[in-house]
């Protein structure tokens, strides 16, 4: 059963592939015609953070202290120059401890 594949999941994977291939190629293609201005560039550069904020704010509000503390600690550690991996281990450990304590 772990080797099956469902039609909808395959369609979703194909759709994800199509949009990802598009962004991988389209910027290069466009640059053949037009330059990217500073506004668009700043907007694109900030987009991953905006995605994180829009995705995780509802999640944190719903889940409570463990999610909030874990994400907060990870962000602070990353800003302090620790590796993503170390931030993940410490933050996840904290979240598990908080949850095991019953919150």
């Amino acid at each position: 059963m772990i080797l099956d594949a469902s039609l909808w999941t395959l369609l979703a994977i194909l759709a994800m592939t199509a949009v990802t291939v598009f962004v991988r190629m389209f910027g290069f293609y466009l640059m053949g015609f037009m330059p990217v201005g500073p506004r668009l560039e700043a907007g694109f550069r900030s987009l991953p953070g905006a995605v994180a904020a829009a995705t995780f704010t509802p999640l944190v509000v719903q889940d409570g202290p463990s999610a909030l503390i874990a994400i907060g600690v990870a962000v602070l550690m990353a800003r302090a120059g620790k590796s993503d991996l170390m931030a993940l281990c410490v933050a996840l450990g904290l979240a598990i401890a908080i949850r095991q304590a019953g919150f």
Binding site: M1, L11, P48
Partner: protein, 245 residues
């Protein structure tokens, strides 16, 4: 065979492939652990191993896969499919800028090779490739070799995570649901560049929260993040001068 070629035409050599692969060696362990997380989340969401491996091989964009899997619907229909595609597009939109940055290097190459190379574009070979180019490197093999090495890692590494993820019964107690938010937040925290980003990300969070309350589903990710991006773009001066940063 014409001996007259444009002088800037980039080469494509085996030595270049090896150089690119070497650039990526320090990333094998972190990417593997990130892959383990993707595998565990995929198991939690009920994907099969074949589905997971296909996604890793074809999409090959870890952050977007984690976000999409986090929002993976239990019941599929047309709108749910569109939402997953839109979320993937939003998370990966930065690749558009990155691919644009390769115009000076790949622009004079055979288009088939240039676009083929861009299929392997990720954050890792974007950064390494731009540094290599800045140091005078022009071999397309470097970019492709770097991309292909991590591609293989990205296909293999999630498999043990997937198998372990299926064994965990109470995934919440072990924080499996928080792996993606924590890792993604740490990665984007590094991209913060000043007050404009703070304001944009605050707007993205508030709009995302409000739309989620109002609509449910996944559309809040797209609307919230676009709102944040627009705020940052509008706060940035249109001219090249440095301000507010």
């Amino acid at each position: 065979m014409s001996p007259v070629l444009p002088p800037a035409r980039p080469t494509l050599t085996r030595a270049g492939f090896v150089t690119g692969a070497r650039w990526m060696v320090p990333l094998i362990l972190p990417v593997s652990i990130f892959g383990l997380a993707v595998g565990a989340v995929a198991a939690q969401k009920g994907l099969t191993l074949v589905e997971l491996s296909l996604m890793n091989a074809m999409v090959y964009a870890g952050a977007s896969q984690l976000v999409a899997l986090g929002l993976w619907p239990e019941q599929w229909n047309g709108p749910a499919l569109m939402a997953i595609a839109l979320v993937t597009l939003t998370v990966n939109a930065r690749l558009l800028l990155m691919s644009a940055a390769f115009r000076p290097w790949f622009g004079t190459a055979n288009p088939v090779i240039a676009y083929g190379a861009l299929l392997t574009l990720t954050d890792a070979n974007y950064i390494a490739g731009q540094r290599y180019y800045a140091e005078g490197g022009r071999d397309l093999g470097m970019f492709i070799g770097a991309g292909l090495l991590l591609w293989v890692v990205w296909i293999v590494a999630p498999i043990p995570g997937y198998l372990a993820g299926r064994l965990i019964q109470d995934s919440r107690a072990f924080g499996v649901d928080l792996v993606m938010p924590i890792y993604f937040s740490a990665m984007v925290a590094r991209l913060w560049q000043g007050r404009n980003d703070s304001l944009g990300w605050l707007v993205a969070g508030l709009v995302g929260f409000a739309v989620q309350r109002w609509q449910g589903g996944t559309v809040h990710v797209v609307i919230g993040s676009l709102a944040g991006m627009i705020v940052v773009a509008l706060l940035t001066p249109a001219a090249k001068e440095e301000a507010g940063r």
